[in-house]
């Protein structure tokens, strides 16, 4: 009995000692951690002027925290240990639904993720209200710094699953700043259903722009080297990494059908980077048919806009038109139609541009004239009727009616009210009839 009592007493003393030991250890660790944080703040920082007592996490509930001016909010959040941050996260979850909660959760996670993505990730994964969790996830993912992207991707995967739009969003953002890391992430989390094809295309481009050799190896490893879309993406990325090498490769493989789109991509890239190099590139192509195909692939789907809207002088219809028409019409035939269509300038501006073209190409240019998109026929027909040169006017009218989206009935209606003589109207009606006949024959 006495032995048993002694044994029990010994165990009790041991428990007391161990508890005291670890308590002492924890207290010391926290004290040192707090000191370390204080030491690491640069002396130049105005934040050191903030009275820590005013923003001590111990005194604050989540709502108090969010009412603070940003610097104090930041300092409080930064100074707080993990448990305090978790406690605040818990308080946010219990707030009544509404704009205040949205504002609070957004502010909290946008900031927390920037300096403690691990805690942000952990607390988000523990949020039970799915709508709130989505909001917190959205904010954290958006505000996350580059080095936290993997944490965010893993959070999306664990919280929302593989098909999550947010996972796509994270990887999409991430690849623009660190494509090799995204490739590694995809390797680490293979998709059994192979739904990565869209992502792969962009990723290969980004990988190649970062490191063409690594991109090539990654494609080979995944058996994607021969997929035309991926090869094209690779070439685009390679162009960004080493323009001369990519251009030279494409010119050396012009006969490869898989290079057709890449020829256009190179030409477009060169047009924006160096018109001189673009000119050399087009002349280095073997024949007019290839040059024409290159122009088509490069510019057919290019979004054009006026400089005052986009700030891009090279993307205006006029700038592209100027450049294309420096080359023989055989290169660009059919390409000007889109340029006329997307011009937002008054129709008179493009008509004046056509009038100024050298006679050698003016007819070819006029033959592609198209009424500008989404303008009333009456408004765009009148300027053509006012072109002084009768030959050019007829060429323009033929092209105008030929390329109209709507049937020429609308043109007839517009013509009926046009302030021109009956004779002129008859002449134009004859042109319309001739275009209709041509259309019927086609």
């Amino acid at each position: 009995m006495a032995t048993r009592s002694r044994l029990l007493a010994g165990i009790a003393l041991l428990v007391v000692t161990l508890t005291a030991f670890f308590t002492g250890r924890t207290v010391e660790e926290r004290a040192l951690a707090a000191k370390a944080r204080g030491d690491m703040r640069p002396s130049t920082s105005p934040s050191s002027a903030i009275n820590p007592g005013a923003t001590s996490y111990r005194q604050l509930a989540a709502l108090d925290l969010l009412k603070l001016p940003f610097p104090e909010f930041y300092e409080a959040l930064r100074a707080a240990p993990g448990e305090a941050r978790k406690k605040w996260a818990g308080e946010l979850e219990t707030m009544p639904d509404g704009p205040r909660r949205i504002a609070a959760v957004s502010a909290f996670y946008k900031l927390l993720v920037q300096f403690d993505p691990i805690t942000a990730s952990r607390t988000i994964s523990e949020i039970k209200d799915k709508r709130l969790q989505y909001l917190a996830l959205e904010c954290a993912v958006d505000a996350a710094p580059g080095f936290a992207m993997r944490t965010m991707a893993e959070l999306c995967l664990s919280v929302q699953g593989r098909s999550s739009g947010m996972l796509w969003h994270v990887r999409g953002e991430w690849m623009f700043i660190d494509a090799p890391a995204v490739a590694q992430f995809i390797d680490d989390h293979p998709d059994p259903d192979g739904h990565e094809s869209l992502l792969s295309r962009d990723l290969i481009e980004e990988l190649a722009s970062f490191d063409p050799k690594a991109a090539k190896e990654w494609m080979e490893k995944r058996g994607e080297s021969d997929v035309p879309e991926y090869r094209r993406a690779f070439m685009e990325g390679w162009y960004e990494n080493d323009r001369a090498a990519a251009v030279s490769y494409v010119l050396g493989h012009v006969d490869d059908p898989a290079m057709k789109d890449s020829i256009g991509d190179m030409l477009r890239g060169l047009y924006f980077d160096s018109k001189e190099e673009a000119g050399k590139f087009i002349e280095a192509l073997p024949d007019d048919a290839t040059r024409h195909a290159a122009f088509k692939a490069a510019f057919e789907n290019l979004i054009l806009g006026e400089e005052e809207e986009t700030g891009e002088p090279k993307s205006t219809p006029r700038a592209l038109g100027d450049w294309l028409t420096k080359f023989p019409p055989a290169y660009w035939e059919g390409m000007l139609t889109e340029i006329f269509k997307w011009s937002r300038k008054p129709p008179e501006a493009m008509l004046a541009w056509i009038e100024q073209q050298p006679l050698a190409i003016r007819e070819a240019v006029a033959a592609e004239y198209t009424p500008p998109f989404q303008k009333k026929t009456a408004d765009v027909l009148m300027p053509v009727l006012q072109v002084p040169d009768p030959l050019l006017r007829d060429q323009l009218l033929r092209a105008f009616f030929k390329h109209m989206d709507t049937v020429p009935d609308e043109a007839r209606a517009a013509l009926a009210t046009a302030p021109i003589s009956a004779e002129q109207k008859n002449h134009v009606l004859q042109i319309i009839a001739a275009v209709e006949t041509e259309r019927d024959q086609d």
Partner: protein
């Protein structure tokens, strides 16, 4: 005496107290201060190495290149550097980032800089954007700063978005309105009123009304009703679906009361589809009180979306499984779904013929006929085998002949061409002969 129980307890108590104090002190001294300091440092600023980077940045504020490493500097350090920097320094850094060679390093640096700067000094961030010359980088910077912007500055950002030159570059304007309207929709409505845009349809209204009814439906409704120019298809859609999230009954009443209003059908379609996904009882309630035409159109939309191939930006679970939707559709009166179930059936048969056929076959005979007739009426020639298999089981003989005859007639515009086209169908000669026999004169079935 010393061996008495009280004495023993007292000694034991003293020993326990001594061990507790000793253990506590031993615990404190056992902590390796250097190691902990390093560990804490890593948590906060990711090692002393990064602190060196901080010093480079802080001590060389206008130095070319130092800011370019910004993507590797943790926010804790960056925050202090940015706060201590003058406005001119901040703008100079922004300029330096613009001039980096384009590529991933530049994108990473620009993103990191603006995500941080917007939290530290949003006015400097805005000024930097106004001074930006590299417009591609400006776009990237706008994207980055909108993602990390504190909730209190949406108004300033909205103002910036309407004043920045080159408005034709992007659609970020709606992003600002969307985010701002989640926290202060009334302010957004006033902003929109005071900053009209010269566009056919102002997309900002849609963004606002996606959120406002969730917070204050009465105010949102009053604002929407106050100006007919605000009542577009998209604003009605946003308004009713957002309202339905917080008050389904009120949204149903509103939808029914406005069902025949111009621009309102898409709102009904969206509302029915939303309820069908999230609350089938509400979907049923709404269908039963809608005018017949609007209800049928909404059902058509449900069938179409269920089988449609939707690309990009579709929330998870937006499309429900075929069997779930089909079950809900046929739980309603026949007239609601008799025209649209065929659309759903055709897509389902394409993707999982066994399941779809099984579903058709388990319907009551009357409903089964209606569903198969509906399918045959929309089926394309590529579904001919299923049309013949299922169509031949329609119980009403004259209806069967009519429906299958119409299917054959739809193969071509001209009847004689349609007759010829039957020859190329992958069905038996008897079936071809049957289709020719029952084919009507014109495509309307006569």
């Amino acid at each position: 005496m010393l061996t008495g129980p009280r004495i023993q307890v007292a000694i034991l108590g003293l020993l326990a107290a001594g061990f507790a104090v000793g253990g506590f002190q031993a615990g404190r001294h056992s902590v390796n201060a250097a190691a902990l300091s390093k560990q804490t440092g890593e948590t906060l600023v990711d090692s002393a190495n990064l602190s060196r980077r901080y010093r480079v940045l802080a001590e060389n504020p206008l130095g070319q290149g130092s800011v370019r490493e910004i993507a590797t500097v943790p926010f804790s350090e960056l925050y202090d550097v940015l706060r201590s920097a003058s406005r001119e320094q901040l703008l100079a850094w922004a300029r330096d980032l613009e001039r980096m060679p384009r590529g991933p390093r530049q994108r990473a640096a620009v993103t990191a800089y603006y995500k941080s700067l917007i939290q530290v000094d949003h006015r400097a961030a805005i000024e930097a954007l106004f001074r930006a010359e590299n417009l591609n980088m400006r776009d990237l910077a706008i994207d980055a700063l909108l993602k990390a912007a504190p909730e209190s500055i949406w108004g300033d950002l909205a103002e910036m978005m309407v004043r920045l030159p080159y408005q034709g570059r992007g659609a970020y304007r709606e992003d600002v309105i969307w985010n701002w309207s989640r926290v202060d929709p009334e302010a957004v409505s006033k902003f929109i009123e005071s900053h009209p845009v010269n566009q056919e349809e102002d997309r900002r209204l849609f963004s606002l009304l996606c959120n406002w009814p969730n917070i204050d439906p009465a105010a949102a409704r009053e604002w929407l009703e106050a100006d007919p120019a605000r009542q577009t298809k998209d604003t009605f859609r946003a308004f009713v679906t957002s309202w339905a999230e917080v008050d389904p009954a009120a949204a149903i009443n509103y939808a029914v009361a406005n069902a025949t209003r111009p621009n309102f059908q898409e709102a009904i379609n969206d509302l029915v589809y939303q309820f069908m996904r999230l609350s089938k009882d509400d979907a049923t309630k709404l269908m039963l009180v809608l005018p017949a035409e609007q209800a049928k159109a909404a059902m058509g939309n449900v069938a179409h979306l269920t089988g449609a191939v939707l690309v990009g930006g579709v929330p998870e679970g937006y499309q429900r499984p075929f069997d779930e939707v089909a079950r809900w559709m046929v739980s309603l009166p026949v007239e609601f779904w008799s025209e649209s179930i065929g659309d759903l059936g055709q897509e389902w048969l394409k993707r999982d013929a066994t399941a779809a056929t099984g579903w058709f076959n388990q319907l009551s005979p009357e409903r089964r006929d209606v569903a198969i007739v509906s399918f045959c009426r929309v089926a394309e020639s590529e579904s001919v085998e299923q049309v013949m298999t299922l169509g031949s089981t329609i119980k009403d003989r004259s209806l069967r002949n009519k429906v299958l005859g119409e299917f054959g007639r739809r193969l071509r515009t001209e009847r004689n061409e349609a007759m010829k086209a039957i020859s190329d169908l992958p069905i038996s000669e008897d079936q071809k002969a049957y289709l020719r026999t029952v084919m009507p004169e014109d495509s309307s079935g006569h």
